[in-house]
């Protein structure tokens, strides 16, 4: 009974976003941060597919998203000729992880990349060639990209497997934090004081949103409040950290094209929030009767 009601709003949000993007395309309306809405749309495509078709299809759309992000990352970083085997290993880790999400095999999903990929990729890098100098740097570059852009994003998929509405709650909360960050952005300089103000504005909003969504998510009210406090914090930390990586690998805000930083830039707020929120919800839902 419960699942029948919950399908409709997901599809409605997806259709609304699709219509919006279609209209802007047809009438050539230029809106700022349009690419961000594309990525939101992708997430809702995944949720709608999961609700109407099957989770199997939805999770492979997420795999494509991971692939796009990782491809962009490897385009931007400086890699050696002989790291190509390691990069191939990184790409192959995506289906390796996704398959365990698809079949709800939590134990393997959670170790697929941190154990098998992180041990396998260094080996592959050493197989690539005889040059020793720079090996550690290469392994670090490949592994961090894989961790952030595949493993962390993969948690959204597993969260959607547990409950689509939990994943929607996460996506909408992060989107609100991003919206507030965009609206309150002043100049190019990054100041901790402005981050603090942003946090104090977005935390009440996320608390209200999480409480409002609790009708579908089924999260008890005190957990809603705590999640509402936690998510903006994680988003702020994530945005701050990824900003440093972005600057280092040469992503500039002036020309955000796909392949030149658009994918990573739009996903950056999810990277820290997704795994932590996933484990929070998993921990309490398994131990508490209130869920």
């Amino acid at each position: 009974m419960f699942s029948e009601i919950s399908k409709v709003p997901v599809i409605l949000i997806f259709l609304a976003l699709s219509l919006f993007l279609l209209l802007t395309k047809v009438f050539k309306i230029r809106i700022p941060y349009k690419s961000y809405i594309h990525y939101l749309w992708t997430f809702f495509l995944i949720f709608a597919a999961s609700e109407t078709l099957s989770f199997g299809i939805a999770i492979w759309i997420l795999a494509v998203l991971c692939f796009m992000a990782l491809r962009e990352y490897f385009t931007l970083v400086d890699i050696r000729m002989q790291d190509r085997w390691g990069i191939l290993g990184a790409y192959l880790s995506i289906p390796f992880m996704i398959i365990f999400i698809q079949f709800d095999y939590y134990g393997m999903f959670i170790i697929s990349i941190p154990v098998y990929a992180f041990l396998g990729i260094p080996f592959l890098v050493t197989l690539g060639g005889k040059e020793i100098k720079g090996t550690l740097l290469s392994i670090g570059i490949i592994d961090l990209g894989l961790f952030l852009l595949v493993y962390c994003i993969g948690h959204i998929g597993y969260l959607a497997l547990s409950s689509t509405w939990w994943a929607i709650m996460l996506i909408l909360n992060v989107a609100i934090c991003d919206l507030i960050a965009i609206l309150m952005r002043k100049g190019k300089n990054h100041r901790w004081s402005s981050v603090l103000i942003q946090y104090s504005v977005s935390a009440p909003m996320t608390i209200i949103l999480t409480l409002g969504l609790s009708y579908w998510t089924g999260i008890p009210w005190f957990h809603c409040v705590f999640l509402g406090i936690l998510i903006p914090l994680l988003v702020a930390i994530g945005r701050h950290t990824i900003r440093y990586i972005e600057k280092d690998i040469g992503i500039s805000r002036d020309q955000l094209l796909p392949g030149k930083g658009q994918v990573i830039d739009n996903l950056r707020s999810f990277l820290y929030a997704a795994p932590v929120i996933f484990h929070y919800l998993r921990f309490f839902s398994m131990r508490s009767d209130a869920f």
């Binding site: 692939f67 490897f74 385009t75 790409y91 392949g259």
Partner: protein
């Protein structure tokens, strides 16, 4: 060759429905400046060449109606190795085949035929895929062709990313974005060579704007070229080395290791972060100058020379110069001074052995070699592992008669050092001459002996000329 016409064919469909979506979805392609190509009917596309993907990418950017009327230039002997591939390439791109090695009457004939029949062509003027990510010197054929067809616009295109996604010698293409930057169409007036060089410059400029912000790893700086000027005291080596350092600093970052450390850039001296070792060395040097006898002089001078050699490493590490100009070379000084202490025993063969020991070639000289009995210092240096002195990459010996040098020392008004007598300087001069010969013959290091009594301008000119031809061939 008949003109290829028609806009609808199986070939065009393969391009549109198979190749383009594959490139876009598997690799990802960013195109900048597409409107530069849009309104043209006939053109010559010039692009850098890194990978076999390049040709696919260049067909990716073409307007649909131009797919069938554009022909790339390709090397026949490479593709003809595999028959199926040859046929496929021939069908998809209908290239103008070029035979690379064989002597042909005119390699440009095929291109002329294509252009005369109204087709457009694609040329990779580098001629080969070359080093990944680097543009090599353009071949001159492009310039000649452009001179003949002045009414056909030339479009410079820069392709990046293919050197990572499908580089030479790799078997598996990797999904990595490719960027194609199309420059504005060009019409040229000048001579063939000027056209080639200006096209090369254009592609390089496109490459700078494309790759400027790219992530780069920290690269180990190139080891600096050490260039030593030496001679007996009062030969004017300090003056010469300073002038040479200043002159060379027009094009390079130069560090002068003299009585003090000096750093030059664009003929200006720069402030330097002081080195502790340098302070110790200066103090030791001052102490050695006040020695009363050769015996007292030996140990502090040896320590000073060792430190002076050690400083070369520190200078390289902290200041990262392109060139180090040495005023006196510790290794050569040590070797030449042996003449002063053991004249009867010292000859070319012994000198070569001593230099081998001092530069740490332990395998070449055995432990029980007689040289260690004659020169205890060498045994001690080896025992304490101080035998890693650096042989410079080029040397200049400034030759002055001892009488002249004594005169110069006296005219400076300084206190005379213990070895600065005419007899001893004559011996030292012989020692230096011997070492110079040994270094040139045995160690294949460019060396030149200059007459220290000639004018300073002349000296400087010949020293700089020598420096450039010997060690600075590749900056």
């Amino acid at each position: 060759m008949k003109k290829l016409t028609g806009s609808f064919s199986a070939r065009a469909l393969i391009h549109l429905l198979l190749l383009r979506p594959f490139l876009k979805l598997f690799f990802g392609v960013n195109v900048a400046g597409k409107k530069n190509l849009a309104s043209l009917d006939q053109y010559i596309i010039i692009a850098n060449h890194n990978s076999h993907l390049d040709i696919l990418l260049l067909f990716y950017i073409l307007p649909i109606k131009q797919i069938l009327t554009t022909q790339p230039v390709a090397a026949e002997e490479y593709f003809s190795k595999w028959k199926v591939l040859f046929k496929l390439v021939n069908y998809l791109f209908s290239p103008i085949w070029i035979v690379r090695d064989r002597e042909v009457d005119d390699p440009l004939r095929g291109m002329r035929e294509a252009l005369n029949s109204g087709n457009s062509i694609i040329i990779f003027p580098e001629g080969t895929r070359g080093i990944p990510g680097q543009i090599i010197k353009f071949k001159t054929g492009v310039g000649r062709l452009a001179m003949e067809y002045r009414n056909i616009p030339i479009i410079p295109v820069f392709i990046s990313g293919t050197e990572k996604s499908f580089p030479k010698k790799s078997t598996i293409p990797m999904p990595i974005w490719n960027n194609v930057t199309i420059g504005p169409p060009q019409m040229f007036k000048g001579e063939g060579q000027d056209i080639t060089s200006s096209l090369e410059k254009m592609i390089r400029e496109l490459s700078y704007s494309e790759t400027a912000k790219r992530h780069k790893r920290y690269k180990q700086p190139k080891p600096a070229i050490a260039f030593a000027v030496y001679g007996i005291d009062g030969s004017g080596k300090s003056t010469l080395s300073r002038i040479v350092a200043k002159k060379l600093s027009n094009a390079f970052r130069v560090c002068l290791v003299s009585d003090h450390l000096e750093f030059y850039e664009n003929e200006n001296q720069k402030e330097l972060q002081p080195l502790l070792t340098e302070k110790v060395r200066e103090a030791l040097g001052r102490y050695a100058k006040t020695a009363k006898s050769l015996k007292q002089y030996k140990i502090p001078k040896l320590a000073e020379l060792l430190l002076r050699d050690h400083i070369l490493g520190e200078v390289q590490r902290w200041y990262t110069p392109d060139i180090i100009v040495q005023d006196g070379c510790p290794l050569i000084n040590l070797a030449a001074w042996a003449k002063l202490y053991r004249e009867e025993y010292f000859d070319a063969e012994v000198c070569a052995r001593a230099i081998r020991i001092l530069t740490g070639k332990r395998e070449a000289i055995k432990k029980d070699d007689p040289i260690f009995k004659k020169f205890h210092e060498l045994a001690a240096l080896r025992r304490f592992r101080l035998d890693h002195m650096r042989l410079p990459d080029a040397v200049i010996f400034l030759d002055v008669a001892p009488a002249v040098s004594i005169q110069r020392i006296l005219s400076r008004g300084e206190q005379r050092q213990v070895h600065e007598t005419e007899e001893k300087l004559a011996k030292l001069r012989e020692g230096y001459l011997l070492v110079t010969q040994v270094v040139e013959k045995e160690f294949n290091i460019p060396a030149r002996i200059l007459d220290g009594e000639s004018e300073i301008d002349k000296l400087t000119a010949s020293a700089i000329e020598f420096a450039k031809e010997s060690s600075l061939r590749e900056p």
